[in-house]
């Protein structure tokens, strides 16, 4: 089974946003979350579509969630 990891900096990303995104993507992939060395390590597996596209779309989704909560 093909898996891929995504590293998101703990300093930049909020766990709530990551968990919200994980929930939103629950129909498209199984996503495991771990915390290690200042990063959230997200492991993608059982992807319904291309695993590469899924990871990239997930990254964009988390960035979007974070950006919407930020005030300039």
């Amino acid at each position: 089974m093909k898996t891929e990891n995504l590293k998101l900096s703990i300093e930049l990303f909020c766990l709530n946003d990551i968990l919200s995104a994980k929930n939103a993507f629950s129909d498209f992939a199984f996503i495991g979350v771990q915390e290690r060395d200042g990063y959230y390590i997200l492991t993608f597996s059982e992807c319904r579509y291309s695993i590469d596209e899924t990871v990239k779309e997930f990254d964009n989704y988390v960035i979007s969630l974070s950006a919407q909560q930020m005030k300039l």
Partner: protein, 136 residues
């Protein structure tokens, strides 16, 4: 200068993927996230950081290399930084203006009873309370 010409470097790993380095002294996390959000329908983004720099990795969607995303992203990041600076300098003025605009319809004088509001007419709704009650 916000543009920070020497602090902004980028290199192309390949035709498709670009990584741009932004100095943390000049750019804020908020500006980079907002800029990425602006373009997230056209490119994939990955944002990372170390002690001195933010790293933004851009991959155009659908292999579309016709748009210079690295330059566009840099411009957008500068724009959002500029907005942040202006907001820091003038945000409180905007809040006062908004508060005053909304408060003008509800402020009562010292001797007025809140249960006995004057009858409203069409013209009074368009007049500013401060203009009518300003002490000369």
């Amino acid at each position: 200068m916000i543009t920070g010409k020497c602090h902004l470097q980028y290199k192309k790993w390949s035709v498709m993927i670009m990584t741009i380095k932004f100095s943390r002294d000049i750019y804020s996390k908020e500006a980079l996230f907002k800029a990425a959000y602006y373009y997230c329908d056209r490119a994939y983004f990955h944002i990372d950081a170390d002690e001195s720099y933010f790293y933004v990795c851009i991959t155009p969607k659908n292999g579309d290399n016709s748009i210079p995303y690295e330059q566009e992203f840099q411009n957008k990041a500068v724009e959002y930084m500029n907005r942040q600076i202006i907001n820091k300098k003038t945000g409180h003025i905007r809040e006062i203006i908004m508060a005053r605009a909304f408060a003008s319809t509800v402020i009562l004088g010292d001797n007025e009873d809140s249960t006995q509001l004057p009858e409203a007419d069409e013209e009074s709704a368009m007049k500013d309370w401060f203009d009518e009650n300003r002490k000369s």
